[in-house]
C-alpha cells in the first residue's frame, strides 16, 4: 500500500540525516564513557537478579545501592563474584540479598572465572529472548495478512492488571491489533521497577515483569482464537528505561515507547541520565527484535502543530540516528507524529496530509506511529468523533503503520468500553471504505500540499543546523525543543550517572557490541 508521493529533494533529506549524525556524535561519546544505576540494574536483571525484600525494595536496587562508590567498575563483577563465592544460583543469591547480604563486602575472586560464569548466564537468558523473537516471527508468518494496516492500537489503563486483561481481551476481539497498558502516572519518576502483580495504580497500571507476563498470556489466548497476532506495548521511558526493556524482552512485549529526549523535556529527567539510559535500552530492544515507538506527538500538545511541525521532523531524524547507533534497523524504529492542528483551520486536513506523507516518504521503512487529536478534543463528543474520522482517513491514505485510535471522550474520562468499540468501528469502516485511496492520489506539483511539505523539511533542516551549531545539550538548555528549557545539571536522576573507570566491565555490553551491526533495510 503506497502513500502519494511528494517528490521531496533527496539532498535536503540527506543533509538532515548528516546533521542528525553530527548532533548525536558528541552525545554518543558521552554515553560510551558513562553508566547509570538503571543500566547496572538492567545488567543484573539479565544475569538473574530478581525479587524484592520484605519492604518491596527490588533485589537489583538493593545490590546496586550497596555498590555506591564502586559502580564505576560495573555491578556485574560483584554480583557474579557473589554467585561464585557463595556457591549459589541466582535465585539463592537473590534471596540472600533480600535478607540482607551485602555483595560489596565479598572478596573478589578470579576475574576469568567471573567472566566465564557471566557469559554462561547470559547465554541462557539471551536464548530465551531470541526464542521470544523467533516465536513472534513464526506467528506473524503463520497469520500473515491478518493484522490490519495500519495496526489499530488501543490503550487500557484501569490500574488493576486483572481488569486490564478483561478490557484488553475485549478490545482485541473487537479488532484491535495492538494493546498498550498505560502506566501509573508517577512510574516514570520511580528509580525502581515494582515487583509482582499489581491491582492499584492511579492513571494506569504499574509496569512490572509479572504484569507483563499476565497480559502477554491473555493476549496470546485471544490471538489463538482470532488467528491474528496481538501486539503488546508498554513504556521503556522514565528513570528505568533499561530495566523495562529487559523485562519486555523476557516477557515478549512487541513494542516499547522509547524516546531519546522525551524524559528530559516532558518528565524533567536529567539529560545525561536519559541519553545514557536510552542507548542501553535500545540495544536490549534491538536484541529482542522489539520495535520502539518515539514520542514526537508530545511536541504538538505543548506547542502549536502548525508552527512547530519542523520540531517533530527534526526530532524524528535525531531519534532515528540514536536508534541506528544502538543497532535498531529501520523496520523497528517506530517514529511518532500526530494529528493536532486546530480543527478550525482552513485546509488543516491538507496540511496534516502533507506532513503525514512527508514522514512516510522520508522514513519509508519505519513503522510510523500516528497519534490522534487530543489537544482540541472537547466535551463535544460528536465533533470529536468527526475529528477522529478525518484522522482515520488520513492515516490510511498516507500509509501509516501504527494507528493509535482516538477516543470520542478523550477530554472527559478514561474510555468506556463503548468508546473503544465506537473508535474501532469508525476506523475499520473508514479504512476499508477508502482502502486504496492513497494509491489513486497524485499531488499537484505546485499545490499547497507539496509546498507545505517542502516548507516543513526546510524548516527542520534550519532547526537541525541551529542544534548542530549549539550542540544538543546546549540546545535543550536553551529550550529549542518544545519551548521547554532543561539545565544540563538539573532534572531527576543525575546522581545515578557514573563515569566508567578504565576497569569498567559489563558482560551484556560485551555480548551486544559483538553482535553484527544493523544493516539498512534489514
Amino acid at each position: 500500500m503506497g502513500a502519494p508521493r511528494l517528490g521531496l529533494p533527496a539532498d535536503k533529506i540527506a543533509l538532515a540525516r548528516e546533521l542528525a549524525s553530527r548532533i548525536a556524535a558528541p552525545v554518543m561519546e558521552y554515553v560510551s564513557r558513562h553508566t547509570t544505576v538503571s543500566i547496572e540494574r538492567a545488567t543484573l536483571r539479565l544475569l538473574g537478579a530478581d525479587g524484592a525484600d520484605a519492604r518491596g525494595v527490588p533485589v537489583p536496587n538493593l545490590a546496586v545501592d550497596s555498590l555506591r562508590g564502586r559502580l564505576e567498575n560495573g555491578a556485574a563483577l560483584y554480583y557474579v563474584n557473589a554467585l561464585i563465592a557463595k556457591g549459589l544460583t541466582p535465585g539463592g543469591l537473590n534471596r540472600a540479598i533480600a535478607s540482607g547480604l551485602d555483595i560489596s563486602t565479598i572478596e573478589l575472586g578470579d576475574l576469568e572465572r567471573i567472566s566465564r560464569e557471566a557469559h554462561a548466564l547470559l547465554e541462557a537468558v539471551f536464548a530465551r529472548i531470541e526464542a521470544n523473537a523467533a516465536l513472534r516471527r513464526r506467528r506473524e508468518k503463520e497469520w500473515e495478512g491478518k493484522a490490519k494496516s495500519p495496526l489499530l492500537y488501543l490503550i487500557v489503563a484501569t490500574g488493576n492488571i486483572y481488569e486490564d486483561v478483561k478490557q484488553a481481551r475485549a478490545a482485541a476481539r473487537q479488532g484491535a491489533d495492538a494493546i498498550a497498558v498505560i502506566r501509573a502516572t508517577a512510574q516514570s519518576l520511580l528509580d525502581y521497577v515494582p515487583h509482582g502483580a499489581t491491582t492499584e495504580g492511579i492513571g494506569g497500571t504499574y509496569a512490572t515483569q509479572e504484569n507483563f507476563r499476565i497480559m502477554r498470556e491473555a493476549l496470546d489466548e485471544v490471538a489463538e482464537e482470532e488467528g491474528r497476532y496481538i501486539y503488546l506495548v508498554n513504556y521503556s521511558s522514565g528513570l528505568c528505561m533499561p530495566e523495562i526493556a529487559v523485562m519486555g524482552a523476557l516477557e515478549r512485549l512487541d513494542m516499547l515507547l522509547n524516546d531519546s529526549m522525551y524524559g528530559i523535556l516532558f518528565r524533567d529527567i536529567n539529560m545525561y541520565r536519559t541519553f545514557a539510559d536510552q542507548h542501553f535500552s535500545r540495544m536490549i530492544i534491538a536484541a529482542a527484535d522489539m520495535a520502539i515507538n518515539t514520542g514526537e506527538d508530545n511536541y504538538l500538545t505543548t506547542s502549536d502543530a502548525w508552527e512547530k511541525a519542523c520540531t517533530v521532523l527534526a526530532s524524528q531524524f535525531i531519534n532515528e540516528r540514536f536508534a541506528l547507533a544502538a543497532g535498531l534497523p529501520h523496520r523497528l524504529i517506530g517514529l511518532g507524529h500526530a494529528f493536532e492542528m486546530n480543527p478550525g483551520m482552513k485546509n488543516g486536513f491538507l496540511y496534516e496530509l502533507a506532513q503525514a506523507c512527508m514522514a512516510r516518504e522520508i522514513f519509508p521503512d519505519c513503522p510510523l506511529k500516528y497519534m490522534p487529536p487530543t489537544k482540541f478534543m472537547s466535551g463535544d463528543i460528536f465533533m470529536g468523533y468527526a475529528m477522529n474520522t478525518m484522522f482515520n482517513l488520513l492515516s490510511k491514505v498516507s500509509g501509516q503503520s501504527i494507528h493509535l485510535l482516538g477516543m470520542l471522550t478523550e477530554a472527559i474520562h478514561n474510555p468506556f468500553l463503548q468508546d473503544r468499540y465506537l473508535a474501532l468501528e469508525n476506523a475499520m469502516y473508514v479504512m476499508n471504505n477508502a482502502a486504496d485511496l492513497g494509491d489513486e492520489i497524485a499531488f499537484r506539483e505546485d499545490g499547497m500540499i507539496i509546498r507545505r511539505a517542502l516548507e516543513v523539511l526546510n524548516q527542520a533542516v534550519s532547526f537541525l543546523e541551529e542544534v548542530d551549531r549549539l550542540g544538543l545539550f546546549e540546545a535543550i538548555e536553551r529550550g529549542l525543543f518544545a519551548e521547554i528549557k532543561r539545565p544540563r545539571l538539573g532534572g531527576k536522576g543525575l546522581e545515578g550517572v557514573v563515569r566508567k573507570s578504565p576497569a569498567y566491565w559489563n558482560p551484556v555490553l560485551e555480548r551486544m557490541e559483538n553482535r553484527p551491526a544493523a544493516k539498512e533495510g534489514d
Partner: protein, 242 residues
C-alpha cells in the same frame, strides 16, 4: 417558566441516550434496556440501536421523552469566576492603572499529574485556541513550573518570587487524585500561616468554582475557560485587596 428538552417540537421532551449493559444482546435484553430508561423517569423510550461489544456487553442507543420541566430562573448557580471577563488589552490596562506593577503568577501541575495541557493552555505564550496565555501579558510575570511538581516546591517557589497568585492544574481525576492533591496544598499553606498571601486558584477539566471553593481555593476554572478568565479574576481580586 418551565422548559423541556426540545427535539423538533416545543415541549416534546426528546432526549438521546447511550449506555452499555453487561449482558449479551437479545430481544429480552433490548426490552430490559427500554424498561431501564422508563425506570429512569422517562415517559416513552425507543431503543434504536443495539451493538454487541464483546464477552457479554451490549451498547444501546435510545431516544426517550420526558414530561419533566425546569424553570432556569429558579436555579442557583455559581458563575463566580467566569462571568464578566475582560479582554487581553483591558486586563493589562486594569493592572497598570489599578495595581501599578506586574502581577506575579506561579503555576504547576502538582502531585503525580503529568498532564500539562491545562496549565500550558493558561500560561504558555501561545495560549490555546487563539486565547493568549499569561506569559504573553505585559503586565503579568508568569512562571510555569510544569508537571509533577511537589506541593512543597511550588510553595517555596511562590515565596521566592513573591507570587500574587498560585495556579494549580489537575487533570487526572481517577480515584479523586485531584481532590487529594488540591486539598493537600491548601492545608500546607494554612499550616504555614501563609494562605492569605496568595490568591489560590485550581484548574482542570473536572474542576469548577464550586468544587474549588469547597477545597479552600479562591476560584476554580474548568472547561471552556481561558487565560483571560483567570487573569481577570486575579486582577480584580488584587485590586479589591488594596
Amino acid at each position: 417558566m418551565l422548559i423541556r428538552p426540545y427535539g423538533d417540537a416545543m415541549d416534546d421532551g426528546a432526549v438521546q441516550l447511550s449506555f452499555t449493559l453487561p449482558a449479551e444482546d437479545s430481544p429480552r435484553v433490548r426490552e430490559a434496556a427500554r424498561r431501564l430508561v422508563l425506570a429512569l423517569g422517562f415517559d416513552a423510550c425507543e431503543i434504536v440501536h443495539a451493538a454487541s461489544l464483546s464477552e457479554g456487553f451490549t451498547m444501546f442507543i435510545a431516544y426517550a421523552r420526558t414530561s419533566v420541566g425546569i424553570d432556569p430562573d429558579e436555579v442557583e448557580v455559581d458563575e463566580g469566576a467566569v462571568s464578566d471577563c475582560m479582554s487581553f488589552e483591558e486586563i493589562n490596562r486594569f493592572i497598570r492603572e489599578e495595581i501599578g506593577r506586574r502581577v506575579v503568577v506561579v503555576g504547576a501541575c502538582t502531585g503525580h499529574d503529568a498532564h500539562t495541557v491545562g496549565i500550558d493552555a493558561i500560561m504558555n505564550m501561545k495560549g490555546y485556541d487563539h486565547h493568549f496565555g499569561l506569559e504573553r501579558y505585559p503586565m503579568v510575570e508568569a512562571h510555569n513550573l510544569g508537571a509533577q511538581v511537589p506541593n512543597e516546591r511550588l510553595v517555596e517557589y511562590a515565596l521566592e518570587v513573591a507570587a500574587d497568585a498560585i495556579l494549580v492544574s489537575q487533570s487526572v481525576t481517577q480515584r479523586d487524585a485531584h481532590r487529594l492533591n488540591l486539598t493537600a496544598l491548601a492545608e500546607l499553606l494554612r499550616a504555614r500561616g501563609i494562605r492569605d498571601r496568595f490568591i489560590l486558584i485550581a484548574g482542570g477539566p473536572r474542576i469548577d468554582n464550586r468544587l474549588a471553593g469547597e477545597l479552600g481555593y479562591d476560584a476554580g476554572f474548568g472547561k471552556g475557560t481561558y487565560a483571560e478568565h483567570v487573569a481577570t479574576f486575579i486582577a480584580r481580586r488584587l485590586a479589591a485587596r488594596k
